[in-house]
Amino acid sequence: MISVVVNQVERVFEGERLDALLGELSLPPKGIAVAVNGEVVRRVDWASRRLADGDVVDVLTAAQGG
């Protein structure tokens, strides 16, 4: 069990990999970008990316903006 910070909220996570964490969040199917500790993790790498205690995960999507 590890503790990660997802979009600035601390969260206990029982799995190991990024795709499992993302599966726990209710995310729109498209238009998502994920960074771990500030670095983009490409969609194809979500399943293989292992998370560590204290990792900071940011999940971003489209918003209105000029």
Binding site: N7, Q8, L25, L27, P28, K30, G31, I32, A33, V34, A35, G38, V40, R42, R43, D58, V59, L60, T61, A62, A63, Q64, G65, G66
Partner: protein
């Protein structure tokens, strides 16, 4: 036709999506504007509105992600990389803000970020100031267009320094897109008359009392300004030049 990085756009109007009161209002404005390219921002999922991407996808418009809210090259580059992943496009409207009150760009950070992103294969469209030297630096380092501010974002002040916009048009070979400051249709016409290749605006439409009508006005304004620029206006003079010939004029006795 406006061509950016080899992509042809039949509308010279680029619409920012910020500031609309609802997605339905935004959709009507996009349709009325005739634009083929709209900006989007990137925000944390829980604070963003669902349905925006679906609506833009349905309309078939191309996305231009922005780096709005970034104050350093470092943050802007990271945001651009995230945008490329989220929206599957290499295009980015690069904003690196230098001052909270005016939201004018930080030229030093902007050049730094543009260099990195051009190297990484992005099609970089920088929001820049109306400085012709800075615009040339951005064009020379490989930006696909330069987008000078007419006036501060959302100010509706129009084009504060028209002669500098004209100088930018002379200084660079890439497209020049007037970005920010537009308040009403005549501002967009002026931008095009000064030689700009396109106009990017958001607030002027999204915060108008009737966004769809203003979007339609902007669509016509950009077309009118472009036609006028190409048609070649008459010289300004201090005195009249009669348009009706005196030949055959009757003299009453």
């Amino acid at each position: 036709m406006l061509s950016i990085a080899g992509v042809g756009l039949s509308s010279r109007l680029i619409l920012g999506t910020g500031g609309a009161s609802s997605l339905a209002v935004l959709e009507r404005a996009i349709l009325a504007s005739g634009t083929e390219l709209v900006t989007v921002a990137l925000r944390r999922v829980e604070s963003s509105e669902h349905g925006l991407l679906e609506m833009l996808g349905r309309l078939g418009v191309r996305l231009l992600p922005n780096t709005a809210g970034c104050y350093t090259a470092h943050d802007a580059v990271r945001t651009a990389r995230m945008a490329r992943e989220a929206f599957e496009t290499d295009w980015v409207k690069l904003e690196v803000i230098g001052d909270e009150r005016t939201l004018l760009p930080d030229g030093v950070e902007l050049v730094r970020a543009a260099e990195t992103l051009v190297d990484e294969g992005f099609v970089v469209l920088p929001y820049t100031s109306d400085d012709p030297v800075l615009a040339k630096r951005l064009a020379d380092l490989g930006c696909a267009a330069v987008m000078p501010a007419g006036a501060p974002i959302g100010s509706g002040m129009g084009i504060a320094n028209p002669s500098y916009i004209r100088l930018i048009r002379e200084a660079v070979a890439c497209p020049v897109i007037l970005d920010a400051g537009i308040g009403t249709a005549s501002d967009a016409v002026l931008a095009m008359e000064l030689g700009c290749d396109g106009v990017l605006l958001a607030s002027a439409v999204t915060r108008a009392a009737d966004p769809a009508s203003m979007a339609l006005a902007m669509r016509h304004a950009v077309v009118a300004g472009r036609l006028a620029a190409e048609a070649g206006r008459i010289e300004r003079r201090s005195y009249a030049v009669a348009s009706t010939s005196d030949s055959g004029l009757v003299t009453w006795t």
